[in-house]
């Protein structure tokens, strides 16, 4: 009559359970701990929890557990993506501590919310039921709305949170409407059943399914900020606390793409006109992102636009849609997560009590002191990687995606993407030029500040990120193989 879930159903969601437990523990620590002590405990506890969850994920790797009536799966594909979120989370927490202390933003729920957002992303990735995917997406979105608005004393942060909330609510509406239309047409919210129905009856024979899928694209497109739906990105990214921006640009985007792949690239039959539409969106995303990034004065805004452009590069792979392309997306998500978090992370560290925001702030940055020197070096690595210079993770990612696109016969798309990379050369190099080849402006020079423990903590996190970026650039083989393996076993 009624079949209940059993304990063995919990296997695929063990990492999620661990994180939930840690997140609630962090909330409880808030109740007992004093303020300064708490910050350390909560941050350390969160990082510790994320590490345990990563270990759990590695243990699950290759086991292909499914549970809860096939609502969740722990295939290699989702595990890789989930590890990407958690690594992003660790780096974010490492840079947050400093930022929170400097900006007096000390809401204690910060770390717990980051953990909750990661849990949401994990459910988005590992679920094969649109219902659970949607709930995961909402957990992630609501956590990020709150995180964006966490600097309550800052008008920009409030504005960003409100914009994000309003537009996010709209996109959620689209997504949900799409899901309900699909349900109406196929009588299921489970992806395998939807896919088999669509393969049997075709996508465009029934207006319901066509519309449903289109609305789904809009909903997901908002989350990953592809072009007609990118309007919120610059304002939200520049208004949010910088570590939150880093987290959102890296993890939330990766989660969006993971969801996009799970829904669209694992069996829903492709039609000609669909491809053309995606092609147009991709070209627009890359071009608008890069061209707008050229004009920016604020580096944070520039990075926001560049993240749109990077979403465009990933969309190239989505259009190509082959197995190689999907493994390219996985690798690129990891690479972008590292370099994106790194670049925003450098921005989040204050220099001599000042927040670094515009190109002017970075002028002559490298010559201002030992800490600044390290920071400038790190920033250069991230910029070069974002640019896609060989020997960095960015290069390997772009190479894979472009190669997959060429392989699938998308020559012009690849050419446009390459041209866009050339455009991006200008603004990424401009940062490096500003830091190394110009004299610092007036007041910034004097004074030698003592590095605080929190800033050392943050810089060490960024150092690790930079090393990872270089490592992935020089020895990508292992990770590329993992990604390819995971695509082979992707289940839905």
């Amino acid at each position: 009559m009624i079949t209940f879930a059993t304990v063995s159903d919990l296997m695929p969601i063990i990492p999620e359970l661990i994180l939930t437990f840690v997140a609630i523990l962090v909330l409880i620590v808030d109740l007992v701990g004093t303020q300064t002590k708490y910050r350390i405990t909560a941050a350390v506890l969160s990082i510790f929890g994320l590490c345990i969850a990563i270990v759990a994920e590695i243990q699950l790797f290759g086991e292909n557990y499914t549970g809860f009536f096939n609502t969740v799966v722990a295939d290699e594909y989702s595990i890789l993506f989930e590890i990407i979120y958690m690594i992003t989370g660790i780096i974010t927490i490492m840079i947050s501590w400093h930022y929170i202390a400097e900006n007096k933003m000390n809401f204690r729920e910060y770390y717990a919310l980051i953990l909750f957002a990661i849990i949401g992303m994990m459910f988005m990735t590992s679920s094969t039921d649109l219902l659970l995917i949607f709930i995961g997406l909402e957990i992630m979105s609501i956590s990020s709305y709150i995180l964006v608005g966490m600097m309550r004393q800052s008008v920009k942060s409030n504005e960003a949170a409100l914009k994000y909330l309003m537009l996010g609510a709209f996109s959620t509406g689209f997504l949900l409407y799409g899901i309900s239309l699909l349900y109406g047409a196929t009588a299921s919210t489970k992806l395998p059943e939807i896919v088999s129905h669509l393969q049997e009856h075709g996508v465009f024979n029934n207006p319901l399914t066509g519309f449903g899928l289109a609305l789904l694209v809009i909903g997901v497109g908002f989350k990953v900020a592809i072009v007609p739906f990118h309007m919120w990105t610059p304002d939200v990214y520049s208004g949010a606390p910088t570590p939150v921006t880093a987290f959102m640009s890296a993890a939330a985007k990766a989660a969006g793409f993971a969801m996009l792949i799970r829904i669209f690239l694992t069996g829903i039959p492709y039609a000609e006109r669909w491809d053309n539409l995606m092609w147009l969106i991709t070209v627009l995303t890359m071009t608008v992102g890069n061209v707008m990034a050229l004009k920016q004065i604020s580096i944070k805004r520039m990075l926001a636009y560049s993240s749109i452009a990077h979403a465009g590069y990933v969309m190239v792979a989505v259009v190509a849609g082959s197995e190689a392309a999907i493994s390219g997306i996985i690798f690129y998500s990891l690479a972008y997560a590292l370099m994106g978090v790194g670049a925003f992370g450098v921005l989040s560290i204050q220099s001599k009590g000042r927040t670094l925001e515009t190109y002017d702030d970075f002028t002559g940055y490298a010559s201002q002191g030992p800490k600044e020197q390290v920071m400038a070096f790190l920033m250069s690595i991230f910029m070069l990687s974002l640019l896609g210079l060989p020997l960095t993770a960015g290069f390997v990612g772009k190479f894979q995606i472009f190669y997959a696109a060429l392989d699938a016969g998308w020559v012009w798309l690849t050419v446009i993407a390459a041209m866009n990379s050339v455009i991006s050369l200008f603004y990424y190099l401009r940062v490096i030029v500003c830091m190394y080849m110009k004299d610092p402006l007036d007041s910034a020079v004097d004074g030698n500040e003592q590095p605080t423990f929190s800033s050392v903590f943050a810089i060490s996190g960024l150092l690790g990120t930079a090393i990872a970026v270089l490592y992935l650039g020089v020895f990508p083989n292992r990770f590329v193989e993992l990604a390819q393996l995971s695509v082979k076993t992707i289940s839905f």
């Binding site: 209940f4 909330l27 609502t71 919310l113 849990i119 659970l132 709930i135 957990i139 609501i142 519309f211």
Partner: protein, 168 residues
């Protein structure tokens, strides 16, 4: 049956237009209540009493009361003219109508009903919709059901952060 459906469908559409057209936000909110009521009736016609009552309980009873609260506390006065047409608005209206026409045309041309789910009206009347919903929630959909609690927890945390008076 059909007459009741059309009656309430027409009222629902009319009152949801009222939500848009009314200049006074309170009137808009009340139109929304009316829409929800009509939707509730339509759910009852579909033999889904539970969904109908939850619709009224959650939307008309709780969410709308909060809407009214906010509107009344903010003391929003109706703003100036209703339709001041400017170019972006005209373009927006044009695009909307175009899309609407396209959607209607498409649906009229080739609407196919999807396969029937196993929960047909007969089954629902036989077992009662709550029994079916309950069994699904605690059986097949237990994970989404439980994960919703995380969503609510996050939302509560958000409300606490926004509502906190002290910026410590």
């Amino acid at each position: 049956m059909l007459f009741t459906f059309y009656l309430f469908a027409v009222i629902a559409v009319a009152s949801s237009l009222g939500v848009l057209i009314c200049r006074n936000p309170i009137y808009s909110a009340m139109s929304l209540v009316c829409t929800f009521f009509c939707l509730g009736v339509i759910y009852i016609l579909l033999n889904e009493e539970f969904v109908a009552v939850i619709q009224i309980l959650v939307y008309a009873g709780a969410i709308l009361v909060l809407f009214l609260f906010v509107i009344m506390l903010l003391n929003i006065t109706p703003d100036g003219e209703l339709f001041r047409l400017n170019i972006p608005k005209v373009i927006g209206i044009g695009i909307t109508i175009g899309f609407l026409a396209q959607i209607i045309g498409l649906f009229l041309s080739g609407l196919q009903y999807g396969p029937k789910d196993i929960y047909t009206v007969e089954k629902l009347t036989e077992e009662g919709s709550i029994a079916v919903i309950g069994r699904l929630l605690y059986g097949e959909y237990v994970l989404p059901f439980e994960v919703v609690s995380l969503l609510l927890l996050v939302a509560v945390i958000g409300a606490v952060i926004i509502g906190k008076r002290r910026l410590d």
